[in-house]
């Protein structure tokens, strides 16, 4: 067998089980942010959502075993979204009280 051992395999059962348990635990963690002050809580909540999205993309969508072109495409999309969020909320961060 030549080339990378991972190829187009979709990972072992244990890896998917760990990812699944982590996702369900993070679903339960959604109870925590509402206990925080509203602005911080929303940021924490969306950060948790981004982490969960990353887990889904890495383990479930096969990014872990994808070809480099696909990984670059996904990274480019993520970067553009980060710029969008950053520029939008920079407005709020720089407003005077």
């Amino acid at each position: 067998m030549t080339g990378s051992a991972r190829g187009t395999r979709h990972g072992g059962r244990r890896i998917h089980l760990v990812g699944s348990v982590l996702l369900l635990a993070l679903l339960a963690a959604v109870c925590v942010p509402p206990l925080l002050p509203a602005g911080i809580g929303l940021a924490v909540s969306l950060s948790l959502a981004t982490f969960k999205a990353g887990l889904v993309a890495w383990f479930y969508m096969g990014l872990r075993d994808a070809d480099r072109g696909t990984v670059v495409t996904a990274a480019a999309v993520a970067m553009v979204l980060v710029i969008l969020v950053w520029l939008t909320f920079t407005d709020y961060a720089t407003r005077s009280a």
């Binding site: 067998m1 030549t2 080339g3 990378s4 051992a5 991972r6 190829g7 187009t8 395999r9 979709h10 059962r13 998917h16 699944s20 996702l23 369900l24 679903l27 959604v30 942010p33 509402p34 509203a38 602005g39 809580g41 929303l42 909540s45 969306l46 948790l48 959502a49 969960k52 999205a53 889904v56 993309a57 383990f59 479930y60 969508m61 096969g62 075993d65 994808a66 070809d67 480099r68 072109g69 696909t70 495409t73 996904a74 480019a76 999309v77 553009v80 979204l81 969008l84 969020v85 939008t88 709020y92």
Partner: protein, 200 residues
């Protein structure tokens, strides 16, 4: 002797699906950012609107989608290993859980409509700031209906892929399914989590 595909070998179909999902993500990402901005601008009104939604039903729906994604992964792995029957059953479980999600969503819509929260001339809400609360429900119905439509298309695709249970087809449909799941992962905190109870 045939060799296993290397990491650097691109499957055009998979790459194409990723490009499609990427373009959808940019569009929906911008819409979700707009929703987040509205949430910040009308925090009190949005919290009151969210307080009328059922957090247990929303959390159940989130769990349904996560479980359906797990079933989709099992289906793809089964098809990869040539276990066609197992792959089909897992795909049908994925579609079934998606239908459960839609059923719960319809139940929530019924509750909201019966409470007079459908935006329009008949909208009613027992608070002074009914206008921004109506904006919350415009966002709620728009985003969740769009998501439900994508999910319905996904259920159809899963059924189509399950017909032959061929690995690459199932993998491509799986990527789309997980992307729909990711959209809900963001919608749930934006629409359900921050709430003020006791006002309808």
């Amino acid at each position: 002797m045939p060799t296993a595909p290397t990491r650097t070998e691109a499957s055009p179909a998979v790459h194409g699906v990723w490009l499609f999902v990427g373009s959808e993500s940019l569009l929906l990402g911008a819409a979700l950012v707009a929703l987040a901005v509205l949430r910040v601008e009308h925090a009190g009104a949005f919290a009151r609107g969210a307080g009328t939604l059922s957090l247990p039903l929303g959390a159940t729906n989130t769990a349904m989608l996560l479980l359906s994604s797990m079933a989709m992964v099992w289906s793809v792995r089964a098809c990869e290993r040539g276990a066609i029957r197992r792959g089909r059953w897992a795909a049908l479980a994925t579609a079934g859980l998606g239908l459960v999600f839609l059923g719960i969503k319809l139940l929530e819509y019924r509750h909201s409509i019966e409470a007079g929260h459908l935006p329009g001339p008949g909208f009613r809400f027992g608070a002074d700031d009914a206008a921004p609360v109506e904006l919350f429900f415009v966002c709620y119905f728009t985003f969740t209906a769009l998501h439900a439509l994508h999910l319905l298309v996904g259920i159809g695709l899963v059924g189509w892929a399950a017909w032959r249970a061929e690995h690459q087809r199932m993998h491509c449909v799986g990527i789309y399914w997980h992307a729909v799941d990711v959209v809900w992962i963001y919608l749930f905190p934006l629409l359900y989590v921050y709430r003020a109870e006791g006002v309808s």
